[in-house]
C-alpha cells in the first residue's frame, strides 16, 4: 500500500482527482483512499503528524506500506525556479539540528535537493537557507521511521515561492496548479517505488500461516515451539515452493510428551 502525506488540502486536490481517491469518513482527519493508494492530510507544521500517521498504520496492518510526502516548499531566489520538482535527499531539522537521510534507491530521474524543516514560516527571502524549506518533512521522517523501514519513506517537493511572503501564503489555485503540473513525474515515481514494494514477497503464504496457526492450536504449542514450527515451515517452503503443508500429522495429542514428539516428527518431516 502507498500513502501520500500532504500538509494542505490545496496540495492534495490534484492528487485526489487524478487517482480518484474517495474520502474515508471513519477517520477524524482528512483521509482518502482507493485500492492500494491512500492520501492523508496532516495540516501545516508538526503537531498532528504522529497521531495521524500512527492511526493510519494501526488501521491498515499492511506488510509493506510506503509513505510519500508530496507538497510544496520554499526556495531561496536563485536556488530553484518556481514549479521545479525535487526528490529530497537530506532533511535538516532547524530546531533540533538533526539531519535525516531518506534512502535513495529508486532510479527516479527527479532532481534532488536537501530541505530544511522550520518551525515558523519564513518570509524574509530565506537567504540563510541553501536548501528548500518546509514545515513538516523532518517530523514525517522521524515519525515514519519509528514504525516502518527507511526505504519506504520518501519526499517529493515542488518549489512554490521564494519565501518572501511566508510559506503556504499562496492561494489555493496556484498550489493546485503547481501539483497538477507535476502529476506525471509524481505518478512515475509512485509506480517505481511500488515495484520495490512488490519485490518483497514473504516466504510463507497466507495459507501457510493458516496451517501454522491451526497446528499451533491443535497441538497447543508453547511460544518457543510455535517459533520452531515457523522456522521449519519457512525452510520447507524455500525448498518446496509449490507443495502444500500437510495436515495428516497434525493430530491432537493426549499429553505434553506426545505433543513434543508430534512436533519433533512434523519438523523432521518438514526439514527432510
Amino acid at each position: 500500500m502507498q500513502c501520500i502525506i500532504s500538509a494542505l488540502k490545496a496540495e492534495s486536490v490534484p492528487l485526489i482527482l487524478f487517482y480518484k481517491l474517495e474520502k474515508n469518513n471513519s477517520f477524524s482527519f482528512p483521509f482518502y483512499k482507493k485500492d492500494d493508494l491512500c492520501l492523508l492530510i496532516v495540516g501545516v507544521g508538526k503537531k498532528e503528524i504522529e497521531k495521524r500517521i500512527f492511526e493510519v498504520l494501526d488501521r491498515y496492518n499492511e506488510r509493506v506500506i510506503q509513505f510519500i510526502n508530496i507538497g510544496i516548499a520554499g526556495s531561496q531566489r536563485g536556488f530553484s525556479e518556481i514549479g521545479n520538482i525535487f526528490l529530497i535527499n537530506k532533511i535538516i531539522d532547524q530546531e533540533s539540528k538533526k539531519n535525516y537521510f531518506p534512502d535513495l534507491i529508486i532510479n527516479s530521474n527527479l532532481a534532488e535537493s536537501s530541505i530544511t524543516t522550520v518551525r515558523s514560516s519564513v518570509s524574509d527571502g530565506g537567504n540563510s537557507y541553501n536548501t528548500l524549506v518546509d514545515m513538516e518533512a523532518s517530523e514525517i521522517y522521524k515519525v515514519c521511521s519509528k514504525r516502518i523501514l527507511t526505504h519506504q519513506i520518501s519526499f517529493i517537493k515542488i518549489v512554490s515561492d521564494y519565501m518572501d511572503s511566508g510559506v503556504y501564503s499562496l492561494d489555493k489555485k496556484s498550489v493546485n496548479l503547481l501539483v497538477y503540473s507535476k502529476l506525471k513525474e509524481i505518478n512515475n515515481y509512485l509506480e517505481k517505488i511500488k515495484k520495490v514494494g512488490d519485490l518483497i514477497v514473504p516466504i510463507l503464504s497466507d495459507i501457510d500461516l493458516q496451517w501454522i496457526e491451526r497446528t499451533k492450536h491443535v497441538l497447543k504449542l508453547t511460544e518457543t515451539q510455535y517459533h520452531q514450527l515457523i522456522s521449519c515451515s519457512k525452510s520447507y517452503r524455500l525448498k518446496n515452493p509449490n507443495k502444500i503443508l500437510d495436515d495428516t500429522m497434525v493430530i491432537k495429542p493426549s499429553s505434553k510428551f506426545e505433543r513434543n514428539n508430534t512436533l519433533k516428527a512434523i519438523c523432521e518431516n518438514l526439514s527432510a
Partner: protein
C-alpha cells in the same frame, strides 16, 4: 529502465573526510555521483530502520574519517595457525558482495559501504602496536579484509595495493587480504612479498551459485589465485564455510580435485576450512528480517555465543574434509575451525 539506482549513485561525505587522497580518488572515480554532506558517518550508516538487503540493491558510498580504535584483536572464529599476534582492522565497512552466510548482514544495519580515508592513521596504529609486541618470535598478523573484500574494491579505490606497499616496509608484519574477487590482474604489476598473504575463498560451483551469487564465479577466483601463485605470492586457500548438504562429500571431493588439478598444492602457503558459524546476535538479527536463504532455517546449536552445526555432525564432516585435504598437502598446512 532499471528500478534501482546504480551502486554508488550517491556519495555521502563527512566534512573531516574531505581533502584526503582516498577521498579525491573516490570522488574522481564517481564524478557523476551526487554528493551529500554528513556530519558523521554514523548519521547515515547507523540510522534506525534500514533494510540491509534492499540497500544492497543500490549501495551508497560513505567517505569518513575513522577515530580510534584502529586495530582489534582477531575474533575466535578466525583461524591463524595458533599465532598469538593476530589482529584485524576495518579500512572499509561492508562488502561489495553479499553472500548468504556473511555475518556482515547481522553486524551492520546498513547495506551501504563506508570507506575510512585516513589510511595513515590505520598504518601508524600497526607500527605502534608492533613496538609493544614480541614480533621477533611471532610476527604481527593483520587481516585488513575482515569486514569487507578490499581486493574486490581495487578498481574502485586502490586500497589493497597501498596496504601491500605499506606491509612491504614493515619487517615483522604480515597482512592477510582475504577475497573472493577475480581482480588479481589489478595488482599483478606489484612485486610479491612474504609480508602479504593473498587468501582466496573458494567454494564448489554449486555452492557459489546458491550462496555467493553476487561474487565472481568459482573458476574466475581459482584462476586469480593461480595467477597470484605463478607470480610468486604467498597464497592461502579458504574453504570456508563448507556447506553441508545432502551429497556434500562427493561435491567437495570433486571440488578439491578440480582446485588442485589447477593449482599445485605444494606451492600453496596453507589452507583453512570451517563450517557455517555466526555470532548468535548477528544470526538472530538476520533471522528477524526473514532472509530468503535456506541456510537460516537449518537446525543449529549455540555454543559460547556462536551459532553453528551441531558438534557431532560438525566433527564428523570436518574430519572427512581434513582427510580429503590431506590427499593434497600435509596436515601442518591445514587449519580447521570447529574440529
Amino acid at each position: 529502465m532499471k528500478i534501482f539506482q546504480p551502486n554508488f549513485s550517491h556519495i555521502y561525505i563527512e566534512n573531516q573526510a574531505k581533502g584526503y587522497p582516498l577521498t579525491k580518488i573516490a570522488l574522481q572515480k564517481f564524478s557523476k555521483s551526487k554528493i551529500i554532506e554528513v556530519e558523521h558517518y554514523k548519521d547515515i550508516f547507523n540510522k534506525v530502520g534500514q533494510d540491509f538487503q534492499i540497500q544492497k540493491s543500490s549501495m551508497k558510498l560513505i567517505l569518513a574519517k575513522k577515530t580510534e580504535p584502529f586495530l582489534y584483536p582477531a575474533s575466535e572464529m578466525v583461524q591463524e595457525f595458533g599465532s598469538p599476534n593476530v589482529f584485524y582492522n576495518t579500512p572499509i565497512l561492508n562488502c561489495l558482495y553479499n553472500c548468504d552466510y556473511c555475518f556482515l548482514q547481522g553486524m551492520y544495519s546498513s547495506g551501504n559501504m563506508v570507506i575510512f580515508v585516513n589510511e595513515d592513521d590505520f598504518m601508524d596504529s600497526i607500527k605502534k602496536k608492533m613496538e609493544l609486541l614480541d614480533v621477533l618470535v611471532n610476527p604481527m598478523i593483520v587481516s585488513i579484509s575482515y569486514n569487507t573484500d578490499i581486493l574486490a574494491m581495487e578498481n574502485i579505490i586502490p586500497m589493497a595495493s597501498r596496504w601491500i606497499e605499506f606491509a612491504k616496509t614493515q619487517k615483522d608484519l604480515i597482512i592477510e587480504i582475504r577475497t573472493k574477487s577475480a581482480l588479481f590482474s589489478l595488482i599483478n604489476n606489484i612485486n610479491p612479498s612474504k609480508n602479504i598473504i593473498l587468501s582466496w575463498t573458494l567454494s564448489p560451483e554449486v555452492v557459489a551459485k546458491e550462496y555467493e551469487s553476487t561474487s565472481p564465479p568459482f573458476r574466475s577466483r581459482l584462476l586469480s589465485a593461480k595467477a597470484a601463485l605463478k607470480k610468486g605470492w604467498p597464497v592461502r586457500l579458504c574453504f570456508d564455510p563448507v556447506i553441508l548438504f545432502d551429497g556434500w562429500y562427493d561435491v567437495y571431493n570433486d571440488f578439491f580435485n578440480e582446485v588442485f588439478n589447477e593449482i599445485d598444492p605444494i606451492k600453496v602457503r596453507d589452507v583453512t576450512a570451517g563450517v557455517f558459524r555466526m555470532n548468535k546476535d548477528f544470526y538472530k538479527r538476520i533471522k528477524r528480517r526473514e532472509p530468503s536463504s535456506k541456510l537460516f532455517y537449518d537446525n543449529y546449536e549455540v555454543n559460547n555465543g556462536v551459532v553453528t552445526i551441531d558438534k557431532k555432525k560438525r566433527t564428523d564432516s570436518l574430519s572427512k574434509l581434513k582427510e580429503l585435504l590431506t590427499n593434497f598437502m600435509p596436515e601442518s598446512k591445514i587449519s580447521i575451525w570447529g574440529e
